[in-house]
Amino acid sequence: MTGNAAIAEAAIRAGCQCYFGYPITPQTELTEYMAANLSRRPGCTFIQAESEIAAINMVLGASVTGARAMTSSSSPGMSLKQEGISYMAASQLPAVIVNMSRGGPGLGSIAAAQSDYFQSTRGGGHGDYRTIVLAPSSVQELADATHRAFELTEKYSIPVILLGDGMLGQMMEPVEFKHEAPAVPPVRPNGLRGAKGRPSRFIRSFTSNPAELEELNWSLYRRYQQVQENETTCENFMTDDAQLIVTAFGIAARIAKGAITNARAQGMKVGMFRPVTLWPFPKQQLKDLSQKTKYFLDFEMNMGQMIDDVKLSLEGSGDVTFYGRPGGVVPTSSEVQRVITRLYYQKGLNG
């Protein structure tokens, strides 16, 4: 199954009732899967919207009613969705938003890239907010992360971004789904469905009183702290005795694993640290690794974005080198292995 189809199937099984999308390579298969499968399910809705802006605002509307709603896009389309994401962050509305990213800036390329790390992890739109960002690195993980995304967004009423890339979206791997689709899509009890038997309610993001907005900002901040405490996840790969630790996320981590396994076969003590949640970033978990070694190689398919978080987490205690391939160029694991080997010797880690 392709990664894009796996996300769509996992979303249906997670009780996604409404999907709104707009075609853009390399995520279109996800939209197509929803058109074929979600639209025929009782009570469910699929719309091919007139734009990414319309799609995210349809998600906003569906989320208002308490329905589980989702949209997906790729980098240029994600820029258009930022308006709606900011409004949903302010209005504390759950939503799952998939970005199968591609090379940028501008129309960029349609090939896999990781150049949307900044946009994904810094809020992305205007205003003082965060979204939870999950970065799977295999088709199975895409499916699992989709389920987790729906759980997290409802638990915290914070939009969740599932950040993949064109390669993850289009590659085919076996995938096991751990959940059955609910017969009736679940509805949040606090959705707006008419003031029947209760006073009318409204959801808004605007206030003319700065003190009120400040209070909202503080309450969001406190919730973000809870997310940081409870939901930060990462993967450590062969880090126990590592003298050099590669930091990478998503598909780059998958490539790095191959390189590290080969480097290990040649006697180099190399490991990998991979954030699974990009926001919240596993700061402490990375800082702890600097007790073992100070040498880090940050590898990304961009010009260096996550490296900012790597350096902030290490708080000056690490020696961080960067290797990146932007533009949609996907390096092979042997290329990354060469970089690892060179650095290993340059830093004198070969004893």
Partner: protein, 251 residues
């Protein structure tokens, strides 16, 4: 003594923040009268925009979601599709519906979304202080057309209702005004029909309401009411634009 005129049940007991002579408060009341009459207060979801009517949720006693500028058509689509039992209306100004939200409006209509759109045309951006709107009259001075709107540079006032009337999914489009007791009564009928169409599952209904903005037009309330007749409705003629419902006015 029998009480024959009172505040509608779905209109909250609050003092409007609108300027004297503004059409918003009249339109709010008309919508609430219709909601009461159709007995749909407990299943209505209102979608107000940014702008002067951003605080509509302080007045309408129904569930409401304030949405991004121009996106009412899309947000309402999401609400209605997720919960088709609800009655959903958008409340949109001319900048909202006819400029930034043109695409969302046109495509909600084209999909025949079963929605009611209330379109307040006052020929200016009100809340930001009277800038040129897509519906500003030729020659009209605003803060961003200080020498008067010039078709050569600014284009002509856009007739969105006529455009929406071309779209097959739109079942009912009418232009009314709230500048005289007689016109207010006609506006009420049009609003009621637009809601009734949704209850009957007919598709997208649009009621455009020419609405005075004395503050930004820099006129007295009386002059602004006259201006709707003498100037605005010459470019934006009142009356039915489209009706495929096969029904006459409900009352």
């Amino acid at each position: 003594m029998e009480k024959i005129f009172t505040r509608p049940k779905s209109l909250k007991n609050a003092v409007f923040h609108y300027c004297p002579g503004c059409g918003h408060s009249i339109i709010h009341r008309l919508i609430c009268e219709v909601i009461d009459e159709l007995n749909i207060q407990d299943k209505t979801i209102g979608v107000p925009p940014p702008g002067c009517s951003v605080f509509a949720y302080y007045y309408f006693d129904v569930d409401m979601i304030e949405c991004p500028h121009g996106r009412g058509g899309a947000v309402a689509t999401g609400i209605k599709r997720a919960n088709p039992e609800s009655v959903v209306f958008t409340y949109q100004g001319d900048g909202d519906l006819a400029a930034i939200g043109t695409a969302e409006t046109l495509h909600a209509a084209n999909r025949g979304e079963n929605l009611t759109a209330i379109f307040i045309n006052n020929a200016v951006y009100g809340m930001t202080g009277g800038q040129m709107a897509p519906t500003t009259m030729l020659g009209m001075k605003t803060t961003t057309s200080p020498y008067g709107r010039d078709a050569k540079f600014d284009g002509h006032p856009i007739k969105m209702s006529e455009i929406i009337g071309q779209v097959e999914g739109a079942c009912y489009v009418e232009r009314v005004a709230v500048n005289s007791p007689a016109n207010i009564r006609k506006a009420r009928k049009a609003i009621k029909k637009a809601f009734q169409n949704q209850l009957d599952g007919k598709g997208y209904s649009l009621v455009e309401i020419l609405s005075p903005c004395p503050t930004n037009w820099k006129m007295s309330a009386i002059d602004s009411w006259n201006w709707v007749d003498e100037v605005m409705s010459k470019k934006f003629p009142l009356g039915l634009i489209k009706d495929t419902t096969g029904k006459t006015h409900a009352d």
